[in-house]
Symmetry: C3
Subunit: 300 residues, 3 copies
């Protein structure tokens, strides 16, 4: 068989596979949200949150008014388009009234409300950057932190994605959080509720589930899991239930700790040491560490 | 010394270093596989696996035939070119008969065979997406999963890289798996054999070695290592030996668990709890957890 | 309220927020180092370290002289520009005499000195690549390693960032190390001192603090933390103190180990097993492992 024929047969086999497994194709006319565009959208929203940091254009007090106006208008349009695609692609279980005009109106509404939420988000980000400055002895100034700290990048994206999540937008919040996960190694579900002055240091391997609740002035190190207990029960039972822990104000969780369960509460002012495994609550003002692990020393 | 002279001297010193350390240069006319092109190639192959998800073009039932045909032809050419570079650059130890024409023929052959394997790969990916839907209470629909879940991204890339690995292509499989590792934090050697309905949730920090064998309906959480025992013995002794564990069907491995050794088998239906450290086999239908760790509580 | 009015009000609110929280804006005429340009700069410097690996151009013995000359000149200019921005943006605490001309001269000087350091950096990278070849049974040749191993990518970036750090350049070293952290999951502060023949295998989750000191022929696996003990004391007290451990020559640290404290020394030739937690020194030629963890087995 010559190559052209072999290629032709291979293509036919692939097309046949598309017919067989329609579930993992997307061959309808309606487009899905594009990952590249969602990435750009997230970058634009981060730009609005931290003006002057990430673009090439020199912003100054004179020009910022017009630059910001242009950015907001452009971002609003892009956000509407992305939200519209997300509403259309969403699963039937969660769709509200599925009229076309409803989707257009909802996309416009949630997009505007996200823009209106930027000042509130910035109020929180100021506290997060301050927490980073205080929490890391190697940090020197706000600029370095905003430009390069993965923990600050992660909480910034989260606060944006969380707002969209609260506004009932499907798919986009998760796409944004996974883009951030890819970039920082920090995996925070957009449903997680996180209070002011939040700082993740290093961050690689942090996992926070959908129903996590975190208070103010909380500090978390790399490899920390705030997760669910073993997944028992059907998805319908679990959906909507609180499955992930609560950290109260002024809590610090050191590297590698694992805290599981929707009823697990780490009380105000407590500290959880590295590698600790917890499935029960901890009272306020308590330090929990591993008992000195038994180590075996052998000399060669 | 003026600056121009200083720069000139710096350049000379660098060129001298190129002469001294030829081992880490690549200054022969033959090109190495380009990382940027391998990335594009992997993206194109993923596009063939999940049509309509990642490109901008609206695919529909009418146009897909032609779009797919064009993609396959283009991907075939690019894959041939990349394979050819890989064969030429490969280390002498693994080279078969080193005739130039052999490389051209082999590159063509393996490229076609990869395309021919796409339907089989899709058969497996359908089961992987289904496993993700079942395994994550926060998941809603196949679209969200395919667009954003790092675990699904990782198994998709792996099944492609593994096919190339089985076809005896050097370098490219590892380059693809490391691109995926960079993007998802999931590190699966392309040699690992993984059965249907495989789901990694969260994923950051997962490491699976070259000779790992995994059955069907296996679920793995973040930070899990399926690795080798301490590396003793020379590389020649170790190359080719089974060094990494086997997980039988219906096994679940929770976050942070470490399972080591080529003779370690986790029996069918078993569950390994978080942070468990295992270097011996586990019988089927067994749950292994850490004894309740001793924690020390101190109230401030 | 019509949409145009709503948008206008949203923009006003954002501008008001810029006035309120000036701390997280950057609206002065002076530009910050651009993340995109720093990324390109780092890529160019890696290209100089490993000529012929990452670019599209075929380098050969005849053309390399001119290509390298052009690259060095271009990189020098870009590095000067980035250093200048970094000096200007740096925090007052660390600024030396803040004359404009001082910044221009310093930026030129440190840029040239970095280029002059490339041969010395390459001397070390040769040993690092060799260490990777020896340390990973799955590795075959230098090309594969340089093209795809995250550990080699990380040490390459680190040796460049460390040189800039030693030269007193603010911000850029940290930006470079966080770009590398994002790409590899390996988080090494640019201040860390690392000897020859250094190999990180897999790497996701590795964290090494600013005052870490590492000897020669050291091998580290994924998830290892070389960190500080709990952060007590004010930032002024801590800045400059040794807070992170020392690993002497020929030490191996297995996956998930945590070693903390500025006075903690792992003695020459010692091995620290996986998941070990250490806050005290270990004598030379000692193997430290966890006592066989108590596991609980339950059959379903």
């Amino acid at each position: 068989m010559d190559r052209s024929e072999s290629l032709s047969r291979a293509i036919e086999a692939i097309l046949e596979s598309y017919d067989t497994h329609g579930r993992i194709n997307h061959l309808e006319a309606t487009s899905l949200p594009s990952r590249a565009r969602v990435k750009q959208l997230l970058d634009d929203l981060v730009d609005l949150a931290f003006p002057g940091y990430f673009g090439e254009a020199n912003l100054d007090a004179l020009s910022s008014r017009y630059v910001v106006g242009e950015r907001c208008a452009r971002t609003l349009r892009n956000l509407e388009a992305a939200c519209l695609r997300a509403f259309r692609a969403d699963c039937p279980e969660r769709r509200k009234t599925a009229l076309q005009t409803d989707f257009d109106e909802r996309a416009s509404e949630v997009s505007l409300r996200l823009l209106e939420a930027i000042p509130k988000i910035r109020d929180l980000l100021v506290t997060d950057v301050q927490a980073a400055l205080l929490g890391d002895p190697a940090a020197c100034n706000a600029e370095e932190i905003i430009l390069s700290y993965p923990g600050v990048s992660a909480i910034t994206s989260h606060r944006i994605a969380h707002e969209l999540f609260q506004l009932g937008v499907p798919m986009l919040p998760r796409m944004m959080s996974e883009l951030t996960h890819s970039r920082t190694g920090i995996d925070i579900h957009p449903g997680a509720q996180i209070g002011a002055s939040f700082f993740i240091d290093h961050g690689t391997g942090v996992v926070m589930g959908e129903t996590t609740v975190i208070g103010e002035r909380v500090k978390v190190y790399q490899g920390v899991t705030l997760g669910a207990l073993s997944v028992r029960g059907g998805r319908d039972e679990l959906r909507g239930k609180k499955r992930h822990p609560t950290l109260e104000d002024d809590v610090t969780i050191y590297a590698g700790a694992t805290i599981l369960g929707g009823e697990t509460v780490i009380g105000k002012g407590s500290t959880v040491g590295g590698n600790v495994w917890l499935t029960h609550s901890v009272a306020p003002n308590t330090t929990v560490v591993l008992a000195t692990p038994s180590l075996v020393f052998k000399t060669s």
